[in-house]
């Protein structure tokens, strides 16, 4: 870095680490690597790994926060046995969560893809539309929006007023054992903006020549969608599916607010995480709730694994992406 104007200085002494050679540099990388990683490592151990092991241990005990850890009694598999055979509300929670994930996730993705397809062909105002459709995804997870949703689908809510125009006498949706869960699902589907934005980015990657070639061959809009758009978009669909399914299993806030923290009416909105909260923090049955958490972890892990293994059969990676 010496320029013509700088007076020539005597060469500085060789830096110590250069003299130490390659081995020295590598060792130093190890040291600084772990130095920079140390907060994360500490978090992994203290906040994630050790609590996970504690929770596994607790799941075999009758621990409650009213007693100390040492006083907890070992109960073997009792918690798991009770969960699977003697706790009807547990199975309600499983049912509600599965229905929620299986119904709401595909509908949300379908809405996201549909609107993305409409937007993709629109030239004017696309970023404004995109932003406004995305807004519910930013706000929708909040307590505030859940409160609005609860009021909107009340007996006197805006939705029933709307139905009233058509002479339909609506039910109090959030208090109806059948309709409470669909109301909850609708709130999730309403937040289709985030996957939509990801779909839009994916659609931009599909080469236009493919459609031109298909048009020349006389393929109609549906066949183009079926044989070009869907396969080309499959990696993005897969990504959204994994993300939204896992997300769907963890819904808590909306279920808590819509049911006033009970999962009612008659357990119809008792999402798994809400049941876990009630068992652990309301009934203070933390041993049992730990067992619930572990079953949840294993099941979500299995579902993710299943999604990934089926992905091989329908997710199409183009050459460009494998590069």
């Amino acid at each position: 870095m010496t320029t013509a104007s700088t007076p020539v200085r005597p060469a500085p002494p060789v830096p110590a680490e250069a003299a130490r050679g390659r081995g020295g540099r590598r060792r130093r990388d190890n040291l600084s690597g772990y130095l920079f990683l140390s907060p994360w490592l500490l978090g992994l151990l203290g906040i994630t790994a050790i609590p996970m092991l504690i929770s596994l241990y607790l799941s075999f005990t009758d621990y409650s926060p009213l007693i100390s850890l040492g006083e907890a009694n070992w109960v073997g598999l009792d918690n798991y046995r009770r969960m699977f055979t003697a706790d009807p509300s547990y199975w309600h929670a499983v049912r509600v969560t599965v229905i929620f994930a299986v119904v709401a996730t595909p509908l949300k993705l379908a809405a996201a893809l549909g609107v993305a397809l409409l937007l993709n062909r629109t030239l004017r105002g696309i970023s404004l539309f995109r932003g406004l459709f995305y807004l519910p995804s930013l706000l929708g997870g909040s307590v505030a929006v859940a409160i609005v949703w609860r009021s909107m689908f009340n007996r006197e809510g805006a939705f029933n007023s709307f139905l009233g125009w058509f002479g339909i006498h609506g039910t109090p949706w959030v208090n109806d054992p059948f309709w409470a869960l669909p109301t909850l699902m609708l709130l999730a589907i309403w937040q289709f903006g985030a996957p939509m934005v990801i779909f839009l980015a994916g659609l931009k990657q599909v080469p236009g020549e493919l459609y031109e070639a298909a048009s020349v061959d006389g393929a109609g809009a549906w066949r183009q969608f079926r044989h070009i758009t869907l396969p080309m978009l499959s990696p993005v669909i897969f990504f959204n599916l994994v993300l939204e399914t896992i997300h769907g299993f963890q819904g808590f806030t909306a279920a808590f607010v819509l049911s006033g923290g009970t999962g009612g009416p008659v357990d119809s909105t008792l999402m798994y995480t809400l049941d876990l909260y009630i068992k652990g923090f309301t009934q203070l049955d933390m041993g049992y709730a730990s067992a619930m958490a572990w079953v949840f972890l294993v099941v979500v892990g299995l579902i993710t694994a299943v999604l990934f293994s089926t992905g091989r059969f329908w997710v199409h990676y183009s050459d460009a992406e494998e590069r």
């Binding site: 994360w40 994630t48 850890l69 519910p136 409160i147 805006a158 299993f249």
Partner: protein, 276 residues
């Protein structure tokens, strides 16, 4: 012509999607009698009283709840950006033993549902005297100072991998240490990823409810979302207006972020999502 139809369809869908939010704003300004009777959007009579009623509805004013929420969200932003940046620099740019192994574990924790850990973490923090202690937000904050939000680590690793290697190599030849490369090369170039992390940290923490519900038990320590649930218990007609007014206020910070950083937020989910 077909593009006009498409535009019309989009506008109709957008109107339906935005209706709940518009309805929320309108209802916040309606008097109790009007909320039941006037189903139209525009209030016949603007009632700003809902805001002052809601603000002072509980023994502790909403001002305190907003300060609490801002404190938690602000410190979370600091914790997440700093700790995730350090971890991402190690994963993305440094070579050390077992890096691949730790990286795989980090990816694994990306998919780990947070609810699984809430009970043992609660017990741990309680035994440390942090739950309901002098500073009741420690259980909410400390995990964020230890880079447990793997999503942001991942996002920044992806970003840093895009920074040309030649820059580090040149700096190494100049005798720069890993720390000074971090300080003078990576940190300035990582600004976009840091800003994305900061914005998402703020919004997610502001909206977060589960953890705050678990850890905050004293009214004066409540954050805005936890305080809002107090309205649910009081179901009388007269509290609907104040409930909506406070809900509306609680969304304003996130909305302002949305307005200011709309483009960045949208690009943010794209780059983090798709480059994986």
């Amino acid at each position: 012509m077909r593009s006009r139809v498409r535009l019309l369809v989009l506008v109709v869908i957008l109107a339906v999607v935005l209706y709940p939010l518009v309805w929320m704003v309108a209802t916040s300004f309606k008097s109790p009698s009007e909320i039941a009777s006037n189903i139209g959007l525009i209030p016949r009579e603007f009632t700003p009283g809902n805001f002052s009623d809601g603000w002072h509805k509980f023994d502790v004013g909403f001002g305190r709840f907003f300060v609490n929420s801002a404190l938690v969200a602000g410190l979370t932003v600091v914790g997440n950006t700093v700790s995730c940046l350090l971890a991402a620099y190690a994963f993305g740019r440094l070579r050390f033993r077992l890096r691949g192994f730790w990286f795989a574990i980090m990816i694994g924790t990306l998919l780990l549902p947070g609810h699984v850990l809430i009970i043992p973490q609660y017990i741990l923090f309680r035994n440390l005297g942090w739950v309901g202690g002098g500073f009741p937000y420690l259980p909410l904050l400390v995990p964020h100072f230890l880079a447990t939000e793997a999503f942001f680590v991942f996002l920044m690793v992806q970003f840093m991998r895009g920074i040309p290697r030649e820059l580090d190599e040149a700096a190494v030849i100049d005798g720069a240490s890993a720390f000074s490369i971090f300080r003078h090369v990576i940190l300035p170039l990582s600004r976009p990823a840091l800003v994305t992390t900061a914005i998402f940290s703020f919004i997610w923490t502001w909206n977060d409810f589960f953890r705050q519900l678990v850890y905050l038990s004293e009214l004066r320590d409540y954050t805005v979302p936890v305080a809002l649930t107090l309205f649910i218990d009081s179901t009388s007609e007269s509290s609907v207006g104040p409930m909506f007014a406070m809900s509306l206020l609680s969304l304003i910070p996130v909305f302002l972020f949305f307005v200011a950083f709309q483009k960045m937020l949208v690009e943010g989910i794209n780059t983090s999502g798709l480059k994986g």
